[in-house]
């Protein structure tokens, strides 16, 4: 028995390690949510969204959401993003490419989920984008902030940099400065954050495709494209 004991210990640790890994993996992926827009079919199948969870209904996020693409698009991608997160910046051109490719069949929603305090400028970036949104320029600011992430992420003070972006996209600077700290802006970020927490979002980017979380490795164009195509095919029937 004594000779077998170390092997039993090793086997037990291996089993516990695998169980922990499996439960950690599941913890971020088993919270399917409803699409933020009405969907054509509500039937549950492997390709269709699961029924809305009570948490998802209770926390709809900022309304209306920042969305590109028609409300009746066959596929809705909802991204929870942080402007200072490098993987989010990597995902940005991928989603743009998908929007171009799928046109009116795809709707992309962006939700604010600044990882504070890990990313010290993430909240400022989120506020800048939301302030730009109040002048109808959310996506212009969103694109500039992501495209130039390397230029501002290590800056001591990001305010002048974001003000430059505001000028570039033609915002009224006075209004932009006032809106940065406005209740509307703070409330939108807060509501998106509440939705994220209700859905079990733990990191960024977290992407839901018609209510189902897409693992990050599947967010490359070559892997995301077939997922969107399959979703379109199942809804076009």
């Amino acid at each position: 028995m004594k000779r077998a004991l170390p092997f039993l210990l090793i086997a037990a640790v291996l089993a516990i390690a695998l169980v922990i890994a499996w439960s950690l993996m599941r913890s971020g992926t088993d919270a399917p949510i409803p699409s933020a827009t009405p969907v054509v079919s509500q039937s549950v199948s492997p390709n269709n969204p699961a029924p809305p969870t009570p948490a998802a209904i209770a926390e709809p996020g900022a309304d209306p959401p920042h969305a590109e693409g028609p409300a009746n698009a066959l596929v809705t991608i909802e991204e929870f993003g942080d402007f200072q997160c490098p993987p989010c910046a990597m995902l940005h051109p991928v989603l743009k490419e998908m929007e171009k490719e799928f046109g009116s069949k795809l709707r992309v929603i962006f939700r604010e989920f600044p990882l504070v305090p890990a990313h010290e400028h993430a909240l400022s970036a989120a506020r800048s984008a939301e302030a730009a949104a109040l002048q109808g320029k959310f996506w212009e600011m969103h694109d500039l902030i992501y495209t130039n992430q390397n230029a501002w992420k290590n800056a001591f003070d990001v305010r002048p940099i974001f003000e430059e972006y505001a000028k570039t996209i033609g915002l009224n600077l006075e209004r932009y400065r006032q809106d940065l700290t406005s209740e509307t802006v703070q409330n939108r970020i807060f509501l998106d954050g509440k939705r994220a927490r209700a859905l079990g979002v733990k990191g960024t980017p977290t992407v839901f495709l018609n209510g189902r979380e897409v693992p990050f490795p599947s967010l490359e164009p070559t892997k995301l494209r077939p997922l969107i195509e399959a979703e379109i095919a199942s809804r076009s029937k």
Partner: protein, 162 residues
Amino acid sequence: MSNTPNFERAVSVTQDSIANSTRPRSTILYAAASVTSLVGLGDAIYLAVEHVAGRSVQCTLVSGCSEVLSSQYASVRGIPLALIGAIAYFSVFSLATLAAFGYKGAGKLLTPMVGLMFLTSLWLIYLQAFVIKAFCQFCLLSALVTFILTGLVVAIIIRERR
């Protein structure tokens, strides 16, 4: 005169007994290495899962987790470095546990294994400090665990050479 060989044998047996009585100290060191490696294993599993899931890990003590974990150095030929780390810590746990139970070959394998991990940790700290210019607390914890393991292995070597 005929008693002399028996006397020498008796002395030899006594010396072996004394030597055996010091073994538990190495056993404790091996057991300490075994327990320490579990901390590294837990840390590496967490990072490996977050990497595979593509989630941006939140740092609470420093601010460079996502910079480090999304850098090109976070994986080797597509395999997450954290997964390699988890396998390494599990190997250390297995070898240290076997050595604690008296499997001498396991103890001999432990030294080069921990040595390799020590050098890898130094390289990764260098990358964080001078190339990526950001630190990840989970990677620093892993390095700390490896340094403790190195200290334990050095202590085992010194004790067994006495």
